[in-house]
């Protein structure tokens, strides 16, 4: 072999090694824990094992704390406020809870009350505040009594951190909001720990930052959006740095009574599970807003969701209706990759 051949061989070998290094970003590490009654998983890229475990412990600790602080029915900062409001007393919220309320109120107003953390008493009527909802819907008279009062977070008088209401049926429940706020907190904790590339997936609702390859410009995070009835993924999506994806679906919490599905996303206008939608997915830079919007758009249904999305400043959303029709904003349609032709739809999705 001549020197020239050896040199060429060496150059080729160097090229192979370089290419191998390009494709060789390590797989993200996954660490999970239970919190908020669900399974939370962190996918962390560009960190070593010890740092990843420490991050998991820090986020887990914060989530356990928030679960206690924001539980609507158990004694704790929010539970105590609810108990006082029910007795007709004025009560001081701790600063963290006051901030949560202050952040939720404008979203509730913008959604026309379709997202409303003031409907805790209705949630409880249906049993969705407990581990095992059902087995039957509440009596129509009980729903009518709630509708007659129609308490909402707008009925909460707020003077700084001092809270009062004239409506004894006003009961705060941040079930459609707290998870989004918690995901934002988790991402902030990770950033403080020096982690720049992560997904925080709280029971299927998630917020992402950075890149899956663990460095800027490497592979973007790839997300699958679950099919609302069948197993498997309906569409996939690559996330730009710093986006959250939240879905509200009628399959998440429900009970079946006399052949009919009663799910947990309640329409404050009817006092009953919202009809028309099966799942709504919202993509937005703010996880808390995405969480609230997914609920509001679901309640708005196939006829009203676009207007509510616009009012909330959401331009990337998808709604799947009970006939299996797939409705999307143009901005999201451009980004989603479907395994099926979305124009064909999914067929009848009624239970």
């Amino acid at each position: 072999m001549s020197m020239r051949a050896v040199r060429r061989g060496a150059a080729a070998l160097a090229a192979v090694l370089l290419l191998a290094a390009c494709g060789g970003d390590p797989e993200p590490q996954r660490h999970g824990f239970f919190a908020f009654g669900t399974w939370v998983e962190l996918s962390l890229a560009g960190v070593d094992k010890d740092a990843a475990r420490a991050a998991r412990d820090a986020v887990s600790e914060e989530f356990q704390r928030l679960h206690g602080a924001w539980h609507a029915w158990e004694p704790g900062p929010l539970g105590d406020v609810n108990a006082a409001l029910a007795r007709g007393e004025a009560v001081a919220a701790d600063p963290e809870l006051a901030e949560l309320i202050a952040r939720a109120r404008p979203l509730a107003a913008a959604s026309g009350g379709l997202f409303d953390p003031g409907i805790g008493a209705l949630v409880a009527l249906w049993g969705f505040h407990s581990e095992a909802p059902g087995p039957a819907p509440p009596a129509p008279e009980a729903i009518d009594a709630w509708l007659a009062a129609r308490p909402g977070i707008a009925d909460l008088d707020m003077d700084g951190e001092r809270l009062h209401t004239d409506k004894s049926l006003l009961h705060l429940d941040f079930g459609a909001f707290a998870k989004g706020v918690a995901v934002e907190r988790a991402l902030a904790i990770l950033r403080r720990l020096g982690i720049e590339h992560a997904i925080v997936n709280a029971g299927g609702d998630l917020g992402a930052m950075g890149w899956a390859g663990g460095r800027a410009g490497s592979r973007p995070w790839r997300i699958g959006i679950r099919h609302p009835r069948a197993e498997g993924v309906l569409a996939t999506l690559e996330l730009a740095a710093g986006e959250a994806v939240f879905t509200s679906g009628d399959y998440e919490r429900f009970f079946i009574h006399e052949g009919r599905r009663h799910h947990h996303i309640l329409d404050p206008r009817s006092g009953r599970p919202a009809e028309g939608a099966v799942a709504v997915t919202v993509v937005h830079p703010q996880a808390a807003l995405a969480d609230a919007a997914a609920t509001a758009l679901f309640v708005a249904g196939p006829g009203g969701w676009r207007a509510v999305a616009a009012a909330l400043g959401v331009d990337q959303a998808m709604l799947i209706d009970a006939d299996g029709g797939i409705h999307m904003t143009e901005a999201l349609a451009r980004r989603l990759q479907f395994d099926i032709d979305p124009a064909t739809g999914l067929g009848d999705l009624r239970p």
């Binding site: 001549s2 060429r8 192979v16 399974w39 581990e131 299927g204 498997g232 993924v233």
Partner: protein, 124 residues
């Protein structure tokens, strides 16, 4: 070989190219259906990976009591759990990568490890 105008260096380049293609193929091409594996997590314990290569039953000790899982090639399901709602059992077989079922009261979670290695997370 001389007749083809190839030098030893050319051959080396061809050989390395073949190795590179083979390597990329092995690294990035994943068959659509493989037996797969599942990750079982019981609160407070390290997750445990089980292979879904054959049919068998598995019992894990959760917070309330034992949960039973049925394992089969490429799929897994809850068959018994000491919870009230039995959502974990109603969820049926998990057979797609990323598929997830949990008995929250008993703090037992099962996740089918992704056959779609292209996905980092599944939103639902």
């Amino acid at each position: 070989m001389k007749g083809w105008g190839l030098t030893g260096g050319d051959l080396l380049v061809l050989l390395l190219a073949a190795v590179l293609v083979g390597g990329l193929y092995g690294r990035y091409w994943t068959p659509a259906s493989e037996a797969g594996a599942a990750l079982i997590t019981v609160a407070g314990q390290a997750p445990r990976q089980v292979s879904l290569d054959r049919s068998r039953d598995l019992q894990v000790q959760g917070a309330l009591g034992p949960s039973r899982l049925e394992l089969a090639p490429g799929r897994i399901r809850f068959t018994e759990s000491p919870c009230r709602g039995k959502h974990c059992i109603h969820q049926g077989w998990l057979s797609h990568g990323g598929g997830f079922a949990a008995c929250l009261p008993n703090r037992v979670a099962v996740q089918l490890l992704s056959r779609r290695r292209d996905l980092d997370a599944v939103n639902f």
